[in-house]
Amino acid sequence: MARCLHRSALLLLLLASSAISRATDWELSLDTRLVSSDAYPSFMDGGLGTVRFGSDDSGIKLGRARLAVTQPLGQLFSAHLDASVFDDKDRSALGVTEAYLLFRPYPRAGYRLRMKAGGFYPPVSLENRSSGWESPYTLSYSAINSWLAVEVRTLGVEGTLDWLGTRTGHAFDLGITGGVFGWNDRAGVMIASNGFVLTDRQTPLFGRLGQPGVQPLNGAEPFMEIDHRAGAYLGLEARYFDRAVLRVLRYDNRGDPSAPDTVSHVLAWETRFTSAGLRIEAEHGWTAIVQWLGGDTTIAPPSLTLNWPFQSTFGLLSKRIGRSTLSARYDRFAVQTNAPEVYGAQDGHAWTAAYIFDADAHWRFALEWLRVTSSSENRQEAGGPPLANETQWQLAIRYALGSGTR
C-alpha cells in the first residue's frame, strides 16, 4: 500500500511538472479511505463481491490519486487528460481513464457544436457530474454507472449539436449526440461473470479486470477491438433551464459475437443497451435523480449462443446544506441468462447513504455506508450463500490542488 502510494505520487508529480504551462488548467488530488467491510473479495481480486473493498481490504486504502490536465490548443481545440491510480491491481498502477481532444467552436445563432475524439465516457450518467467523472453525492457510484466505469468507454469520436433555447428566451435546451467507436468489444464480460457491482474504481483505458489466471474474469480486457466493426450510440438530451435534465441513449457496440480475437482467441461480446434518466434540481439544495438502463450481452461460440439480459434502476435523493451534502440512493439490478446452469444470473438491490463535507476548495471529507443484498448463481456455485448481504463503510479524506483551487 505505502509503496503503491509512493510510486503513484511520484508518477503524478512527474507528469504534472512536465505537462503544465501557464495556459493549462490542472487538478491534482489524493483521496484516501478508511474502510470497514464484510464483503466478498472484489472483482479485481478475483472475487464475486459486489462492492469495491472486500473484508480483506478493511483498513487504510487509496481511494484515488488523480491528475487532470486541460490544455487549450489554439482557440477552438483543447486536449484533456485524466490519469489516476486506484490501486496496484492493474498492469501498471497509473492509468488513463479519459484522454480526448475537444473541438468547441463558438455557438452561432443559438446552436452549438461539440466534437470529441479519443477515449471518454458516453453521455449516460446524470450522477457522475464532478471532475474526474466522480459523483458529488456518494463515494460509490450506482450499479449502472459503476458498470460504465468498469467496462464502457468511447474510444472513437462523438459529436453533439445543442440548441441553446435558454439563451434565446426559451425554457428549454435540446441536444442530440452521436458516437462511433471501436475497442469496446469485450464490454459485457463483467456483467456475465460477476453481474452488477457498486464501485468507484474506473478501469483505465486498455486496463484489465480481475487478475490473470484467476477465474472468472482472468484479467479480461474490456477495451479490445476484435471484430473490426465500429459500435455506435445515439442520445438525446433536454434541459429545462438549469433545473431538469432528461437524457436517453441507445448504445450498441455492434460486436460480432462469433468473432474470436486472432491472438488471445477471446470472443467479441455483442452488448446493447438503452438508458434513460432524469435529474431534477430545486431550490434549497435538493437534487433527485432516477436512471434506468436495460440491455443484453451475447457471445456465440461454435454451435452455441449465450445471452445475458440485464437491467438496473436507481433513485437518488440529495440535499445540500451549506458545505454539507446528504444523499441516499436505492439501486436495483438483475442479470438473467440462457447459459447452462444459469451461469451469471444475479438479482439484488442496494442502499447507499453518504455524507460529504466540502471544507474548502482543497479538503473534502466523506462518510458512506453501503449495503448490498444479492443472489448470484456464480457465487452460489463457488460455495457462497444463495442470498448475501455485504456492508461497506468508508471514511474518505481528499486533498485537491489545481488551477481552479488557487
Binding site: R129, R167, R243, S403, G404
Partner: protein
C-alpha cells in the same frame, strides 16, 4: 443604476415662503420642462415587490433624447459574471476582465451584438462597444453555467427597481412610455409597457404588475466543479 445627471430644478416647496411658492407654481405652469419625480413600482403577479427589474422611460413628444454613453465593467469571479446584468445606454463600452484563475471564453450570438473574446485570464482586451439597442446574452464557451445580460437601451431614463420594487427618475412634464424588462420575464414586454402623462404635479406614480410569474432563477449554490 443611476440615471444620467440632469439640470436641477427645485421641486419641493416645503420651507419656502408663500411668495416663493406662488412664483414657483407660476414658473412650472409656464415651463413644461420643470421636472417631476416619476416613481415606477413593479410587482409580481401575487403583489410582492420585484427587485432588479429594468425600467426604461422614453418621451413620446418633443425632441428625441438619449442618455450619455458610459464605460462599464462586468467582471468574472468564481465562474460567474459580476454583475449578471448591466443596463447601458447605446454607444457605451464594457470591459470584461477575468478575475478567476481559470480561463474564460466569452461570447454573444444576440443580434444586438455578436462578439467573442478568445480564451483569456486577466484583462487582455480593450472595452467592447455596444452601439445597437437590444438584449445581449453573454455566455462562456468553456463554462456553460455562466450567464449574464447586457440591456443596451436608447431610452434617456433607465434603471433597476430596488429591494422595495421601486425606481424613480426626475422627468420633465410630458407624455412618456414606461417599459419593463427582466431576464426571466414570461410576460410579453409590449403588453407590460404603459403610457402616461406627467402633468402639473411634482410627482407621478405608476405600478406595473406582471401577469405571469418569472421563470425560475438560476441555481446559485452548486459547486463549480460540477457540470452544468
Amino acid at each position: 443604476m443611476r440615471p444620467p445627471a440632469r439640470a436641477h430644478c427645485s421641486r419641493s416647496p416645503r420651507g419656502l415662503s408663500r411668495t416663493l411658492l406662488a412664483l414657483l407654481t407660476l414658473l412650472c405652469a409656464v415651463r413644461p420642462a420643470c421636472p417631476a419625480t416619476l416613481i415606477v413600482r413593479v410587482q409580481t403577479p401575487d403583489g410582492h415587490a420585484l427587485p432588479g427589474a429594468v425600467v426604461t422611460i422614453r418621451p413620446l413628444e418633443g425632441a428625441a433624447r438619449h442618455a450619455a454613453p458610459v464605460h462599464a465593467l462586468m467582471d468574472q469571479v468564481n465562474r460567474s459574471f459580476a454583475p449578471d446584468l448591466l443596463v447601458i445606454p447605446v454607444g457605451s463600452s464594457v470591459e470584461f476582465p477575468n478575475s478567476d484563475s481559470v480561463s474564460h471564453q466569452i461570447y454573444s450570438f444576440s443580434p444586438a451584438k455578436r462578439f467573442q473574446l478568445p480564451l483569456y485570464r486577466g484583462k487582455p482586451y480593450p472595452p467592447t462597444h455596444f452601439d445597437q439597442p437590444g438584449v445581449v446574452t453573454l455566455g462562456c464557451n468553456i463554462h456553460d453555467e455562466m450567464l449574464a445580460y447586457l440591456l443596451v437601451t436608447d431610452a434617456p431614463w433607465y434603471g433597476r427597481t430596488n429591494e422595495a420594487g421601486s425606481w424613480s427618475a426626475e422627468v420633465p412634464h410630458g407624455r412618456y412610455r414606461v417599459e419593463l424588462w427582466h431576464p426571466r420575464l414570461r410576460d410579453n414586454e409590449a403588453e407590460l409597457g404603459r403610457e402616461l402623462t406627467v402633468a402639473d404635479a411634482d410627482r407621478a406614480e405608476l405600478t406595473l404588475r406582471l401577469s405571469r410569474p418569472l421563470q425560475p432563477a438560476p441555481l446559485t449554490d452548486r459547486p463549480h466543479s460540477w457540470d452544468y
